[in-house]
Amino acid sequence: MDESSSHSVTPKSKDAKKKSSSWASAMVVPLLAVFTALVIGALLIAFTDPVVLDAWKHFFADPMGALAATWQSIAVAYGALLSGSLGLVEIWKALGVWLHGGGTEALAVAMVPLSESLTASVPFIFAGLAVAVGFQGGLFNIGAEGQLLVGALSAVYVGYSFPGLPIYIHLPMALIAGFIGGAIWGAIPGLLKAYTGGHEVITTIMMNWIIISISAWLLKVGGPMSRGELPITPEVLPSAQIPKFFSTQGNRFHAGFFLALITAFLIFWLLYKSTKGFEIRMLGANFKAAVYSGINVKHLWVFVMALSGALAGMAGTVQALAIDHWVGMGFSGGMGFDSIALALLGRSHPLGVVLAALLFGTLRNGATRMQSVAHIPIDIITIIQALVIVFIAAPEIIRWLYRLRQPEGEEAPIFTTSWGS
């Protein structure tokens, strides 16, 4: 017992200060993790480049040459990554042209890399929120991949099946279908956990396989959802497509981005401002105390899994209704698994998830250009993402590298309850 500490409650202003500093300390490890991963990525880029390796063979004859070659290789690759994902220089130039009386056409073209990055991050935001909600409730939802597919299939089905509806009826119908599809696919593992004790890690993985196989049947040529001779669904009707902005110049930026931000805010409100969120966070922080405090944990497990599944479903829904307009095999392409990394990087906080999703979207999008300009395989981004996850999961590495102290009173975030619980 510390008798020197004050009895009274600290005034609000001091408390606010404390909060902001804990915010900053929460950001340190993720930021350094990303930075470190990019540094290692740079070394990988440089030392798989034959030119650089050749220059290093003559290191003792020409040390500056070796270093210059290394730098050159990294600069080209990351330069391409930056211009391909943000293209700020081009935007700046196009802005100048526009201000001096030029048309908006150049500007629209210059905006493509940035708008593509934002577009790519939209499904990441939804899927990241899905996993984050699970983590907050102490559940490890590995099933986002499958829930996303169920959501996309449901939304697309509604999207092509009801011709003649106005957009303000048809589009919400398709969105709700995707939401509900994901929710059902997520609720099943929740029910299994609550009433049979089946661990959600196992059951969500199995649910992934089940929907992948079902979708193979649905989409095979001649299958119930196939498009005649093609193993993909029919095209979503325009009345169920999410509207795009300035789509003339190949911009695909769409309204789903704002829907994602609104959803992130709603999830934030739910988790931190509502009584339901209080329950969810209590369940995640201490299962036994949640039981003690009178929460019906079985119902709550089902609720959290359904919500998580619904959010994952929205990731697939928005991607399908805005960008692809159809669903084929391999639709999700591992996005559901990337979202686990995202949620970890964002510390399961909605704002953190949004930031992490923007980062992932940017990296993914920039990597395409990096591949075409610098001939760096797109897989380097996968490696960088994997490194980020390793550093987030093992923060001691980062603390050791940068000589950080373990922040006081802060425990490693608990992502899930133990096996068999």
Partner: protein, 523 residues
């Protein structure tokens, strides 16, 4: 002659806490030194440094006058230092011999086969020499807690320790078992073993130790020969102020029955019928103490009463209303308060701020909820009030409750449970592991609730606590209530015998009756 063990200027800084501040300690050959202090005073840190588990920031260790470096438990064992931890480090499915050998296996050459016989013989020898009565071939899981502790002692002696550290060894023992342990320790002392005995129980320290050293907030605040000390003086040194060692309480104003339990049967996790036909009644305005050695069904009994465990058969009612197998929420609404046995596992959400922990079972109701919304203002206002009223030491209402000391964590639970109108208070081990100051406070709060007309069911393995607080005592043994007696009509020794399985008649015959003097200490 140089002392067996000397610590000089041991200093250990943890982030934010100076756990040990230039501590000096001398242990003479064949001496029992008690290390007395509240939880968090730094006793365990000091002993962990001595055992090589922590590295001190400063300071030296001397063994028989020679400076030594202890970098791990292996070094400590080599220097003849042995430690008996509070939580036993035994493997239940192995035999005593196998447990003793573990980590230091005696094997034959060249084919490495365990020489169990040789070790068993040595264990028999040690057991006889020190009166330990341990069968080397018994499996540990079949042994009582007291015997398991003696196995721990054998483990240490087997490794030729002559400096023995015991960390709160009596916490898990019945009074009789504790007496046996003291006899063993005295016999060890006679044979030249030097002992450091960590405790926060004043009575034990005075009974057993030759010398006592009191630590408060990382510093040595006093050292005295036990024959020159008394409880009040030690308590004052330990806490830093005068402490009331007994709870002032008047006679109970017993009212209507509140809790009625009839033929209750409850199973534990292994599906053993751990509560085996219990019937009890607790009235408004009285404290019913359930005495029993840990593991006799009290945990399951309390869990069944508070909605955390399924009742297999029987009936529980409050104010005449049947609440058998009601959910925890329904019980909260019926006016049941529960101070759980394991405060960190059940009673608190450690990562949540103090303010939120005050509402973990009322957050869904006004004023803390407004529709779907959490009403921060009401939660904060209550937090401020409870922190003030219950004198909870915390830098603010918004730090995680994990940052608080054990005593203050318990106060958070007590404050929460007392912040709403209640009819029945179920307190399971409410002061376990707490410091004297907090114990005093929580005991007073329990009595205040009793005097306010609440029915109090107190479950405790601390016999002194039961004796000091209860109006009636129910003894629980092997899942059954073996006796319910008026607290004023039995002596501590008699209850102790019943806790160990004697019937009421046997206990009254065998143990000295209660003298009229009030019970000396409840600590």
């Amino acid at each position: 002659m140089a002392p067996v063990l000397e610590l000089r200027n041991i200093t250990k800084q943890f982030p934010g806490v100076l756990a040990n501040d230039h501590i000096n300690l001398r242990l003479e050959e064949g001496e029992i030194l008690a290390l007395l202090g509240e939880n968090g005073a730094g006793k365990s840190t000091l002993m962990n440094i001595l055992y090589g588990l922590y590295e001190p920031d400063e300071g030296e260790v001397f063994i028989r006058g020679e400076q030594v470096a202890i970098e791990g438990p292996a070094d400590a064992i080599r220097q003849g230092i042995g430690m008996v931890h509070q939580h036993f480090m035994l493997i239940p499915v192995l035999t005593v011999t196998e447990n003793v050998m573990l980590g230091d296996e005696t094997v034959s050459t060249p084919i490495r086969i365990l020489k169990r016989d040789k070790v068993a013989a040595r264990i028999r020898e040690l057991s006889e020499q020190h009166g330990l009565h341990v069968d080397p071939d018994a499996r540990v899981q079949s042994l009582s807690v007291g015997v398991r502790q003696r196995v721990e002692i054998i483990k240490v002696l087997y490794r030729h320790a002559n400096i023995l550290i015991l960390d709160e060894p009596t916490a898990v023992l019945t009074p009789q078992e504790a007496d046996e342990l003291f006899d063993i320790l005295r016999s060890l002392r006679q044979q030249g073993v030097s002992i450091i005995f960590i405790s926060h129980k004043l009575r034990e320290v005075l009974e057993l130790a030759d010398r006592v050293m009191v630590i408060r907030r990382g510093k040595v605040v006093g050292e005295t020969k036990t024959e020159e000390a008394d409880q009040a003086q030690l308590a004052e040194m330990m806490v830093g102020r005068q402490v009331a060692l007994t709870v002032a309480k008047g006679p109970a104003q017993v009212g209507e029955p509140v809790l009625e339990v009839k033929d209750l049967y409850v199973m534990d996790d292994r599906l053993q019928m751990t509560v085996d036909g219990v019937s009890l009644t607790v009235h408004a305005g009285e404290v019913l103490g359930v005495a029993g050695v840990q593991g006799n069904g009290q945990t399951e009994f309390v869990e069944a009463l508070t909605g955390l465990r399924q009742v297999r058969a029987g009936k529980v009612s409050i104010d005449g209303e049947d609440i058998t197998n009601a959910s925890p929420r329904k019980l909260v609404e019926a006016g049941v308060a529960h101070i759980p046995e394991d405060r960190q596992a059940d009673g608190l959400v450690l990562r949540f701020p103090v303010a939120d922990n005050f509402v973990i079972n009322t957050y869904y109701k006004p004023p803390f909820a407004k529709g779907w919304r959490v009403n921060r203002a009401a939660i904060d206002e209550q937090a401020e009030r409870l922190i003030r009223d219950f004198d909870i030491r915390t830098p603010s209402a918004y730090v995680p409750v994990s940052n608080l000391s054990g005593g203050n964590q318990q106060k958070v639970i007590v404050a929460r449970e007392f912040s709403r109108p209640i009819r029945l208070l179920v307190a399971n081990q409410p002061t376990r592991g707490l410091d004297v100051g907090s114990i005093e406070y929580i005991h007073q709060q329990l009595i205040n609730k009793r005097d306010a007309g609440v029915a109090v069911l107190l479950v405790s393995a601390e016999l002194d606590e039961i004796m000091g607080l209860s109006d009636r005592i129910a003894v629980m043994f092997h899942g059954k209530i073996t006796a319910v007696v008026d607290a004023n009509e039995v002596s501590k020794e008699q209850v102790g015998l019943m806790m160990a399985g004697s019937s009421l008649e046997e206990a009254l015959k065998q143990a000295p009756a209660r003298s009229d003097a009030p019970i000396e200490a409840i600590l």
